[in-house]
Chain length 430, copies 2
Amino acid sequence: MDDTNYHSAIKAPVLLPLNKGLGDVQQPLPTAAVKDLRWNLLREDVSLPAAVLYEERLQHNLEWMQQFVSEYGVKLAPHGKTTMAPALFARQIAGGAWGITLATAHQSRVAYVHGVRRVIMANQLIGKQNMAIVSDLLTDPAFEYYCLVDSAQGVDLLGAFFKERHQTLHVLLELGVDGGRTGVRNAAQQSAVLNAIAEWKGHIVLAGIELYEGVLKEEAEIRAFLQRAVTCTKGLADAGQFAERAALRPVILTGAGSAWYDVVAEEFSRADIGLPLDVILRPGCYLTHDVGVYRASQEQIQTRNPVAQKMRSSLLPALQLWAYVQSVPEPGKAIIALGKRDAAFDAGLPQPAKQYRPGTQAPLATPTHWQLTGMMDQHAYMHIAEGDDIKVGDMIAFDISHPCLTFDKWRQIAVVNPAFEVIDVVHTFF
Amino acid sequence: MDDTNYHSAIKAPVLLPLNKGLGDVQQPLPTAAVKDLRWNLLREDVSLPAAVLYEERLQHNLEWMQQFVSEYGVKLAPHGKTTMAPALFARQIAGGAWGITLATAHQSRVAYVHGVRRVIMANQLIGKQNMAIVSDLLTDPAFEYYCLVDSAQGVDLLGAFFKERHQTLHVLLELGVDGGRTGVRNAAQQSAVLNAIAEWKGHIVLAGIELYEGVLKEEAEIRAFLQRAVTCTKGLADAGQFAERAALRPVILTGAGSAWYDVVAEEFSRADIGLPLDVILRPGCYLTHDVGVYRASQEQIQTRNPVAQKMRSSLLPALQLWAYVQSVPEPGKAIIALGKRDAAFDAGLPQPAKQYRPGTQAPLATPTHWQLTGMMDQHAYMHIAEGDDIKVGDMIAFDISHPCLTFDKWRQIAVVNPAFEVIDVVHTFF
């Protein structure tokens, strides 16, 4: 690929006046210039609704997870689809991550263009243009890329494409479970995939084994699935299926979403396949965490996992949405200028956390009975009680549940320090 | 505002290599150049998943709605928040629309920068930075802007801000209903707002009345709400409350989402307040329509409305999502590379419509038993039957429900002709 051209498209990322959730930008400015603008959230310098990242909490979470995986001697390829913010990918890699996980060819390209040189695309690579994107990236010999295969048909489509381009694609066999998502369910499907790979020798190389345990809900069945993966990897190693791979680099064994990464670390870190092995975990939501689905799963991890307990701290919610009270039309109801356009709503609605009245000293915790009862595209309904001290123009900070579907609502996200000064802006690429 | 600087930010909108759902773009290109690239969807020139607009259907819908409102002698300010695509705003205005409706200060700025000179912001304007955005736009005397007020407190915040800037803000009194969203519920709230407006004479001008009937579900209560609005407008006219406005331009009476615009047209077009009156309807979803919530409401309109019946055609779904079958891991299940990142899922999941196998003649209608049963961030589960002819690599076109929450997943959207050639790309600004 013509690296220069790609880079010209994103070189010097700028603050754009036409993105929501920013302060006054009269012309495109280098992102780094945002500090000089001295926007302060509490001084109402930012147009709300706005998504806000808390720098100290981000950094805490980043270090927490890196330490966690290090304790197990395993590696981290955080799922980048959560944020799709290359500036955060860069921090994850600088913090010790082995690579970045992504879900599509498009996302893989975004990561590559921003300097990521090791990508697990934890998904099947399907379609001519998607394969062309990856093929382009692979012209850079420094780029290490893996995608999943779970059908002979998929392997054949890949083999034909990459053979024609005289290239080699490194793939991971995806294991799946009945009732689950992708992945081979049984020995027959697995053999069909392996036979197909053998047919494209030189163009498709089996680099390891992948699974996503998050389709299951119970610890026992998850452990059984993980053990199946270890056994499978060992079996394939014994059968010489990784010969081509092992001559180049360690075999890969990878799993873990954001809810069961501790169990995956426990099971996979014990694996001994008789060949050099890289165990790679792929949580994504840890970086911002939340107060919904992922807080609930993290609480389980803190309860069951000795390493997490030993660390004496846990993940912190690092992403909030700030919005105005726009109307208090009935005694028990406030209308907030925040909608489905601004926040995830599929795993619990945003939760009121702080109230700030412009001109006052500091944000206060909101009463626990303030709760969102519904959201429309651009509005939220908040339950309040008669007589509560709430006014049109008050600012409310909301914690979120499900960071992924919140990030994709924002193109540029303000990063603030504890004084609510905007010290950076993070760009997303969806 | 410094018009030149804003324009420099968006002048010559370009195809960017880092947006999903496009074909091969090796460097930023002027949007108009897309035709020369000769991408064809069926030739797999576009990276899927992709959102696709059908040019002929868009044009049909655009003309249909303009004709409908013309039959009633009322005006159209389509809700732009649906698409946030200024290229589509321009077509709506060229097609006869009076202005564009928007939901936030940010959206209003996007519209202004792209040439829209008449905006109803069908929402309260709250917050210092949001007011500053609008204040900036109002330095252009050719820009006509209205926002809603429903509380004395809101009016006072606006009055103080715009008085300090020596500017005048034109507002619409929002009427609401008990149990609804924003808007004054009763005479006492209404008087409080009117009294507040009077306090800011010269800086806040009452330009008319606004409501959003879509918070109600039954035709009878909607008609009663609309009649209340007409009575209210007449009462305020009689009381001289529109004196300042009427000296400048017709009073405004505006309502209508995408589900009850026919009833609003019927009720409001009969209004006689003894002053020149602009009745303005604000549907937004008609432009792309859907096969879910809006098809259902449109079917009601075709049943009950004589003008719609006379037109002998209806709205057509003009937006689809195309995605690949990535796995068929079990006899009754296919996994599609399409997720919550790509499509609305809050008002029904996307519906399979067409299947296309690359290399074959033309897309075929999908069997009716193919239905999505669930979606994750980047995947969808599709129910199929054992023995169905479906393969990894097949392309599936999905109809959608709820265009708004689909548009905001895409930054650049391919527009195709009936031969599936990409003839344009539409940019969104969220």
